[in-house]
């Protein structure tokens, strides 16, 4: 099925390139866009271009940012001895929402997945090792505390598990504390409605009181 307007057809095709958006969703988006005011549409278009032109990766943590280094890496209210390793920039947002974590981050940009052709060199793993090396701290000339703990906050997929193991082996010579996020029952849920796989992992990694 094709539209009589070629512009509409082109936009549908372009929007379908995005993840989770198929042709049908793209068509709905386009018919909505057609009803929007020109100003609103321009704002979306400008935002799309700006995100590509202005956003860069922080040279320390590789999170997305407008300025390098990013505000988190620059902040002196953060504990720079504590690094939380995540897969994607979106994971930083998720952890920041908790307002619980006061350390800094390191964004890997994915996980090791041979089937997708992604190896350690395609991720920011070497850069993480560099952050632990004392020479970096020496270069800055400041008396920054060396890294004391790494929290591996990767997803509990087999790829995430393997990446976490790989990193932990790589960091073993540094003698830093390495931890992983606990797996357990979501808050607001009840035991009754927790699936067995999650529940059995939660029993496995139970905590002493």
């Amino acid at each position: 099925m094709h539209f009589t307007s070629e512009s509409v057809e082109t936009l549908v095709e372009q929007l379908s390139k995005l993840p989770t958006i198929g042709r049908k969703t793209a068509q709905r988006l386009v018919s909505f866009i057609l009803k929007m005011s020109s100003d609103d549409v321009r704002q979306i278009a400008d935002a799309l271009i700006a995100v590509k032109e202005r956003v860069i990766f922080c040279s320390t943590c590789f999170n997305v940012t407008d300025d390098d280094p990013c505000p988190i890496c620059l902040s002196d209210r953060r504990d720079h001895a504590l690094i939380c390793v995540v897969e994607e920039p979106g994971d930083v947002v998720a952890i920041e929402r908790t307002h619980m974590y006061r350390g800094v981050y390191h964004v890997l940009g994915g996980v090791i997945s041979p089937l997708d052709g992604i190896g350690p060199d395609d991720l920011r793993i070497r850069e993480l090792v560099k952050r632990l090396s004392p020479s970096v701290n020496g270069e800055s000339g400041e008396s920054t505390t060396a890294v004391q703990e790494i929290i591996l906050a990767v997803n509990p997929s087999v790829e995430g598990d393997t990446t976490a193991y790989y990193i932990s082996q790589l960091l073993a010579p540094f003698h830093v504390k390495i931890s992983r996020l606990a797996r357990g029952i979501p808050i607001g849920s009840t035991l009754e409605f927790t699936d067995e796989a999650t529940l059995s992992r939660a029993i496995e990694s139970r905590v002493e009181l």
Binding site: P114, P120, D195
Partner: protein
């Protein structure tokens, strides 16, 4: 578990069928190709979200139909009303609803409606390769524990990833990913160990049940037993730590062969289960009839196992299993099915005479269901207008 009624819409040979079942033995009769087995296939689908004859759901569609629908009204011993509905739409896939609400993960549904199937395909279970027997164990343990299913899926994914690394190393040398191999091996061993220990735990319970089944079938079967040879030669008495150690050392032994071949050669995906009849390897020495009765013993043990762990009496599905059996064995098996505590069974046969002489068919408990049941199933001639 009882199945009260089953509705099939555009499923295999059924355009629209509505079938009521009795609480005991149900005999489904009719000519070849009329759709007897399809009824068992439908019940199997409602229980395990897949057919036992094909892995492709689109093959289950009636010719040229865009979707099929199955509705089963079940009654459990704990939940009085379990209404399972499956809708499959070509190009969109299947959806499962229990009492009207959608099931998000198939794993959550599997085990709700326990069923045990006996079919001519069981021959492959005792006579075929080890993968059939691993699938048999996987199917039962999955129905009993959904964390096992989760581990199985994770193991398959890890295996695929690790094989990719080995393949790349074979093609491109160590630069193909040797640095990550150990991490994948670690994940493989972690999950694989959980799978092997779950299987071993299952086997120790199951072997007792198999002995019990032998007593039931005592007149006609030699003593059945089986042996599970896990990764690195682990056996029933081993603890997880032992399994893990055996797994690692087996991997070390096969290290060079794995790199040479570019695939994972060690793990629960290659474990072997051997069946014995009076200490003779069944696969090699047994006759057709012995295979068949051993298959029955396995299914009876499966029935007991599921009843014990799910606290529900499974529904027995028997597809054409009596056709090649002698009178004595048919009579014995029918008597077992009528035992106290055996619950509901649904049996297909080409001729109703097979059961007539042993079972009193009434409308209440033991019911005769003759196909075809509805006019819709028959092709009617459409008058042609020639204007």
């Amino acid at each position: 578990m009882l199945l009260h009624s089953l509705r099939l819409k555009d499923f295999r040979a059924h355009a629209a069928s509505d079938i009521q079942f009795g609480t005991g033995m149900n005999l489904v009769c009719g000519a070849n190709g009329i759709g007897k087995t399809n009824i068992l296939e439908a019940i199997h689908f409602l229980s395990l979200t897949k057919s036992f004859l094909t892995s492709k759901d689109q093959y289950l569609l009636r010719h040229n139909a865009p979707f099929f629908e199955l509705i089963g009204e079940f009654a459990g011993e704990h939940r009085k009303q379990i209404n399972v509905r499956v809708a499959f739409v070509l190009g969109e896939g299947k959806k499962i609803f229990v009492n009207g609400s959608p099931v998000e993960r198939k794993a959550d549904h599997i085990g709700t409606i326990p069923t045990v199937l006996l079919s001519p395909q069981d021959y492959a279970l005792t006579a075929g390769g080890p993968s059939e027997r691993r699938r048999f164990i996987n199917n039962i343990v999955c129905q009993a524990s959904s964390s096992y299913l989760d581990d199985l899926l994770r193991y398959r994914r890890t295996l695929k990833q690790r094989n990719e690394v080995l393949y790349r190393m074979k093609r491109f040398g160590p630069g193909g990913g040797e640095d990550t191999l150990e991490s994948w091996t670690n994940e493989l061993v972690e999950i694989g160990t959980r799978i092997v220990s779950a299987r071993l735990k299952f086997c120790s319970v199951f072997s007792e049940l198999l002995t019990d089944a032998h007593v039931l079938l005592g007149d006609v079967v030699e003593r059945p037993s089986f042996e599970y040879r896990g990764v690195g030669g682990t056996s029933l008495t081993d603890k997880p730590a032992d399994i893990k150690a055996a797994f690692w050392s087996a991997l070390r032994r096969e290290k060079h062969r794995e790199r040479h071949r570019g695939i994972t050669l060690v793990g629960p995906h290659r474990d072997e289960i051997t069946f014995f009849l009076d200490d003779l390897d069944l696969r090699r020495y047994a006759s057709q009839g012995q295979h068949r009765t051993f298959g029955m013993a396995l299914k009876l043990a499966q029935f007991q196992y599921l009843r014990n762990v799910t606290d529900e009496t499974p529904i027995m599905l028997l597809d054409d299993v009596f056709d090649n059996l002698d009178r004595e064995r048919i009579q014995l098996f029918i008597r077992i099915l009528q035992n106290e505590g055996m619950g509901q069974s649904i049996i297909t046969a080409a001729r109703k005479e097979i059961l007539d002489e042993f079972v009193e068919l009434d409308a209440e408990a033991n019911k005769l269901i003759e196909l075809p049941m509805f006019m819709e199933n028959k092709l009617t001639e459409v008058p042609v207008h020639t204007e």
